[in-house]
C-alpha cells in the first residue's frame, strides 16, 4: 500500500481495484471529494475556451500558409 504500513487482507479495503488501509482510504475519499473553488473553475473555463479559440484560428492560419507554399 502507499503508506508503507503492513496490514492483513481483512483490515484493508479494496477501492477501484487498489487496497487501502482505513486512514489512507479516508484521506483518499476526502481528496476525491474536494470541491473546486469558483475561481479555479472560472480560470479553467477562460483559459481552456481561449486556448481552443486560438487553436481554431491558428490551425486555419498555419494550414493556409502551408497550402500556399
Amino acid at each position: 500500500m502507499r503508506c508503507r504500513k503492513i496490514v492483513c487482507t481483512e483490515c484493508s479495503t479494496r477501492w477501484e481495484g487498489i487496497n487501502y488501509c482505513v486512514p489512507c482510504l479516508s484521506a483518499r475519499r476526502a481528496a476525491a471529494e474536494e470541491r473546486s473553488s469558483a475561481t479555479g473553475v472560472l480560470a479553467w473555463l477562460v483559459v481552456t475556451a481561449g486556448t481552443l479559440f486560438a487553436a481554431v484560428h491558428l490551425i486555419a492560419w498555419v494550414g493556409i500558409l502551408l497550402a500556399d507554399r
Binding site: 480560470a43 490551425i59 493556409i64
Partner: protein
C-alpha cells in the same frame, strides 16, 4: 513486471500488459471517440491540398473545418481521459478496470482538456517541422497519463502534473521514436491489407474492381491520408498505455511502492 522498472523496455512491457487488460471496452471507447477527430484531420489536410494557393480566398471554409476539428478534438480528449484512467487502474491493481472507469472524473477530464488544448496550439505552431510532431504526439499521451488523480478543477495543477509526468518518466523521447516507428509499420500493414483484399476480391466472378483499384492506390492522396489516420488510431492505445506505465513507474518510485512490490515478489519467490 520487469526488474529494471522505469527503463524504456519495462515501460513498453507494462504498457502493453495494461492495454491487454483494457482491450475491451476501453480501447473501443478510445477509438470511437478518436475516429471523428482523425477524419477531420484528414478532411482538413485534403482540403488544403486541393485548394493549394487558393486556400487564402477560402479562409472561411478552412476555419469552419478547423472548428469541426477542434470540436471533435474535445470529444477525443474525453475518450483519452477514460482510457488513461482504465490503464492506470489496470497498472495499479494488475487486473482489468471496473465499469466505474467508464465515467471520467471531472478534475481529470478538465485538467487533461486544458493541457491538451495548449499542446494543440503548440502542435499547430510546429506543424512545419516533421521531427517535432511525434514528440508533441508523445506529449499528448503523457498529458493523458499525467492528468490522472487530480483533486480539483484548476489551471496550474494540471499543467504541473502533466509536466511532471513528461519529465519524471524520462521516456518521452524514446516513446515518441517507438510510436513513430509503430505508426509507419501500421501504415504499411494497412496498405498491404487493402491490397490483399483487392487481390482476393479480384477472384470473385463478375467483380468490377477498376474504380476500387484507383481509389485504394498509393496514387490516391485521400487513401494515403486515411491510412495515416487509421495507423495513428491503431497505435494510440499502446502509446497512451506506455505513457501511463511510465508515469505510474515514476509515481511508484516517489512513494516507494516499487520497492514494496519488489519485496513482495522476492518473498513469494517470483522471478523479478
Amino acid at each position: 513486471m520487469s526488474a529494471a522498472r522505469g527503463s524504456v523496455t519495462a515501460v513498453l512491457d507494462d504498457g502493453f500488459d495494461a492495454v491487454a487488460r483494457c482491450w475491451a471496452p476501453w480501447v473501443g471507447v478510445l477509438w470511437l471517440t478518436g475516429l471523428p477527430y482523425r477524419l477531420f484531420q484528414v478532411l482538413l489536410v485534403h482540403r488544403l491540398m486541393v485548394l493549394g494557393a487558393a486556400a487564402f480566398e477560402h479562409g472561411q471554409h478552412v476555419r469552419q473545418v478547423a472548428v469541426g476539428l477542434v470540436a471533435t478534438f474535445v470529444v477525443a480528449v474525453v475518450g483519452r481521459t477514460v482510457y488513461a484512467r482504465a490503464c492506470m487502474l489496470a497498472l495499479e491493481s494488475r487486473s482489468s478496470a471496473g465499469w466505474s472507469a467508464l465515467v471520467p472524473r471531472v478534475p481529470d477530464a478538465c485538467g487533461h482538456l486544458l493541457v491538451a488544448s495548449l499542446l494543440l496550439v503548440v502542435e499547430a505552431l510546429l506543424a512545419v517541422t516533421v521531427v517535432a510532431i511525434p514528440v508533441v504526439a508523445g506529449c499528448f499521451a503523457f498529458a493523458a497519463a499525467g492528468c490522472q488523480g487530480l483533486t480539483k478543477v484548476g489551471v496550474v495543477a494540471p499543467v504541473r502534473a502533466a509536466g511532471h509526468g513528461m519529465v519524471a518518466g524520462r521516456s518521452l523521447l524514446p516513446l515518441a521514436f517507438v510510436g513513430s516507428v509503430g505508426i509507419l509499420i501500421a501504415f504499411l500493414n494497412l496498405y498491404f491489407a487493402f491490397q490483399v483484399g483487392l487481390w482476393l476480391a479480384d477472384g470473385v466472378a463478375g467483380a468490377n474492381l477498376a474504380t476500387w483499384q484507383q481509389l485504394l492506390s498509393y496514387r490516391s492522396p485521400v487513401f494515403l491520408l486515411l491510412l495515416g489516420g487509421g495507423a495513428a488510431l491503431l497505435v494510440e492505445p499502446f502509446w497512451i498505455g506506455s505513457a501511463c506505465a511510465a508515469v505510474n513507474a515514476a509515481r511508484s518510485r516517489r512513494t516507494g511502492d516499487d520497492l514494496r512490490q519488489r519485496l513482495a515478489w522476492l518473498a513469494r519467490g517470483e522471478a523479478a
